[in-house]
Symmetry: C2
Subunit: 135 residues, 2 copies
């Protein structure tokens, strides 16, 4: 995801308005590696801007995802997780606390056994217990 300043330009150029709510979310998401859910972002946003609507959070997240600025990922943890890191990487998910960590993998593994399946991308999810929960 680009910086709040760059996003401001990009939004205006697309005919989208840059509201205080959106600016707040730009800031909360930029460089965020915690893979937050909409709920978590709503809680964070509410601290800085009491009264902001969960609906607006969803709206802005969807807008950013549609623009390719972030990815929405479903790890089966109950709610979608949002990742401003759109570079190629993989994830490790804790079975206990649902924390999501970025993982660098050497290369994409090969697939065999399917004829005629046109692969667009491969996603690897490592599941286990994170360092925090291990104690």
């Amino acid at each position: 995801m680009r910086s709040p300043a760059e996003l401001t330009q990009a939004f205006r150029q697309t005919g989208l308005k840059v509201t205080p709510q959106r600016q707040l979310l730009f800031g909360l998401l930029h460089g965020n590696t915690s893979h937050p859910s909409a709920d978590v972002l709503f809680a964070l946003a509410s601290e800085a801007m009491p009264g902001i609507s969960l609906r607006t959070v969803y709206q802005t997240l969807n807008d950013l995802a549609a623009m390719g600025e972030l990815q929405s990922i479903d790890f089966g943890t109950g709610s979608a997780r949002f990742d401003p890191n759109v570079t190629d990487h993989q994830h490790a998910v804790c079975n206990e606390c649902d924390a999501v960590h970025d993982v660098r993998v050497s290369r994409a593994p090969k697939m065999s056994g399917l004829e005629g399946f046109d692969i667009h991308d491969a996603h690897i999810v490592y599941r286990g217990i994170c360092a925090d929960c291990a104690s």
Copy 2:
């Protein structure tokens, strides 16, 4: 997943009853490689046994999953998919029709960049367009 006959024994030994509804689902699931959703199984079951409840389908699927006879997998396609194949394998999911295919992968890829994360397992999901949808 074991055969309906073996499951019948296993259920009785655990104190669980073998009802016609469960027998039907044993049969629908055994050797099934289509990774059906609860909805799909309910539709199939309803043909053979009109009046069967979706609730019962969920119940039995959860029982089987708890016994390790099948796995419930969330591919983010809207509903959980059930897989009676509990051997180590991976999946390819079609972006267009949500079909799920089994894939054999040489071996699990290595992970790096995380200290203290105890990996239990790794799941790979290939996404793209299946042979049927390519036409």
